[in-house]
């Protein structure tokens, strides 16, 4: 049995109904709220959800790589949006990013994040088995 596998219920054709089983992980990465800030700590793409989402996932990739992980090692992700009108844009991007490596995602629309200019934030967990 693999140490990491996507578990789909028998008889279901719905791609969102799944779980991720992990056993004997050698390394875990707990990722804090990742925001669309650049190297100068400035929020990029003010009021531009596309730019902010791109920056958040660039930052997430950089954090994973620095720790010796890749996007494929993500098992769980929380996504916080501050405007429900941004949901379709997020799901479109998410489908592209996670097409071949499903992640247990929770997408929430909240009233605010750590900076009023931040429209999207993600945190999550990755592991290597």
């Amino acid at each position: 049995m693999k140490n990491k596998e996507i578990v789909f219920p028998k008889g279901s054709n719905e791609s969102s109904i799944f779980g991720i089983r992990v056993s004997q992980a050698r390394e875990w990465l707990f990722i804090g709220g990742t925001v669309p800030r650049d190297a100068n700590n400035v929020v990029v793409g003010k009021k531009d959800i596309q730019k902010q989402m791109t920056k958040v996932f660039d930052n997430l990739r950089d954090i994973l790589l620095e720790g010796g992980f890749t996007m494929n090692d993500l098992v769980q992700l929380n996504v916080y949006l501050t405007d429900e009108s941004h949901r379709p844009a997020y799901f479109e991007l998410s489908r592209k990013i996670f097409l071949n490596n499903p992640v247990a995602q929770t997408v929430l629309v909240v009233r605010g994040l750590n900076d009023p200019d931040v429209l999207v934030e993600v945190d999550g967990t990755a592991c290597i088995t």
């Binding site: 707990f30 990722i31 804090g32 709220g33 950089d62 954090i63 620095e66």
Partner: protein, 130 residues
């Protein structure tokens, strides 16, 4: 067990007390659900007083960790929920009394309401155990 705080070289030193991510090699985990500012009789303390509520929440967390001889340095992820941005600073003040320099990966979320009326703060955590 080993923990490594991750910061990509081009990322700025965090302005707030947090880590971008924490890598854990080996060890076991304790998953702590959202804590609210209740005392051991289940009564909400410090109605309308964020300093009292934040302190109670951290004391509850400390009590849970202490049961397994775990300290705040062992917390790798912390998620905290507030109902108003104005309470961010006082909560950080309280938090700084419990964490020294080994900051967890953290997420702050602002919500309209929390699980119970009169609750101004909730937080949950993941800690590592030797």
């Amino acid at each position: 067990m080993e923990t490594i705080r991750i910061r990509p070289k081009h990322f700025p030193v965090p302005v707030a007390p947090f880590s971008y991510a924490i890598k854990v090699i080996g060890g076991s985990f304790m998953f702590i659900p959202n804590q609210i500012p209740v005392d051991s009789r289940g009564q909400i303390v410090g109605k309308g007083d964020i300093l009292s509520q934040a302190t109670q929440v951290y004391e509850n967390l400390k009590a849970i960790l202490s049961e397994r001889n775990v300290t705040f340095e062992n917390i790798v992820k912390l998620t905290w929920y507030l109902t108003t941005r104005e309470n961010w600073k006082p909560v950080v003040e309280v938090r700084n009394k419990y964490f020294k320099d080994k900051w967890p990966a953290a997420t702050f979320v602002l919500l309209d309401r929390l699980s119970r009326e009169d609750v101004l703060i909730e937080l949950n955590a993941i800690a590592i155990i030797e």
